[in-house]
Symmetry: C2
Subunit: 193 residues, 2 copies
């Protein structure tokens, strides 16, 4: 919740700026408008000899659950560069980033998750700071009940279906809030921050 | 430039938080980290009877130049909903949003431009507040020298090439900073804000 102007430190009000249609946090002194927009989470489904690279999370949310390497895109990088960087940071693996594979809007948490297809350059990996362990898993070994996020499950399902069919499409879809609370239901959010 | 914490109003310092690898604006009092991430611009190439919907901008940057309807994605919407909304706001046209067509990373301005293919539901349109005029233009009528943004030129070129070929692909690419300053060179940014 924005209370103060990040430029001048004065009080900010939540009002509709002139010519706008939505309320924003606007500084009462300098007039600066604090826009808040959805964030991109970028990652990849990386293969080595038919196995898929997964990381077990060392951080909340969903600590202990498995995920595809992915994280918030940073300023100054392209989506593909972000996917490469996140994969390296979380799994220690260097990948060739291929085509975009899945783009999933998750409107209720203001995120868009974008996964590329990728290939490990070599079978070298190690758990980064945000991972408890990293593994190359065959489709039969994927811990479906212990995946961290719904977007990861969705992406892996589509990926394996496309791979079995021998033709990779680009999948654009969305996730709405889960209708029923389920114990250990995978969260949607990559991070609370 | 962030100088004050938006939560408590204290001074913020530009430092690398513990466990992070990049500097962020961090509050010296409450510790809040102000992340800044790339923003998504969403829009569409909308057709009616072979003609394409273009808007002449009434606002800076690039006032007076032509653009595809597009703008910053808002919290609480999907990418497709954003493309629909922006098209309606800028051109008054209601469109059916089809498949994603082009995703263009523009790292030096921290933006990703995402264009869908779309179809007008009826040939009704009118200039929104941010447009001087709106028009349905045939390919021969497109004012290539007066397009507002490089991403718009790139998207339209690919779109017309795909259409001529009878097969629409999904195009993922990037734009780097222009090497030479050119008078009236279309800017990259959808908006300074």
């Amino acid at each position: 919740m924005i209370r103060y102007c990040q430029l001048c430190g004065s009080d900010a009000s939540f009002i509709v700026p002139l010519g706008d249609s939505l309320p924003r946090h606007v500084c009462g002194t300098c007039g600066h408008i604090h826009y808040e927009n959805p964030r991109l989470v970028v990652g990849c489904v990386a293969e080595w000899e038919g196995k898929i690279l997964l990381c077990r999370r060392a951080i909340e949310p969903q600590r202990g659950f498995w995920t595809l390497p992915a994280g918030f895109m940073e300023n100054g990088e392209t989506t593909a560069e972000g996917a490469f960087r996140e994969t390296l940071e979380e799994s220690g693996a260097r990948v060739t980033i291929d085509a975009p594979f899945a783009m999933i809007s998750i409107a209720h948490i203001n995120q868009v998750h974008l996964f590329y297809r990728g290939r490990l350059i070599s079978p070298d990996y190690c758990a980064g700071e945000e991972s408890l362990e990293v593994a190359l898993l065959s489709p039969e070994e994927i811990p479906w009940q212990d995946l961290a996020f719904r977007s990861v499950s969705l992406c892996l399902e589509r990926y394996l279906a496309d791979r079995a069919r021998g033709d990779f499409a680009f999948h654009e879809t969305e996730l709405r809030p889960p209708k029923h609370a389920v114990v250990n239901h995978p969260a949607d959010s990559e991070s609370a921050s």
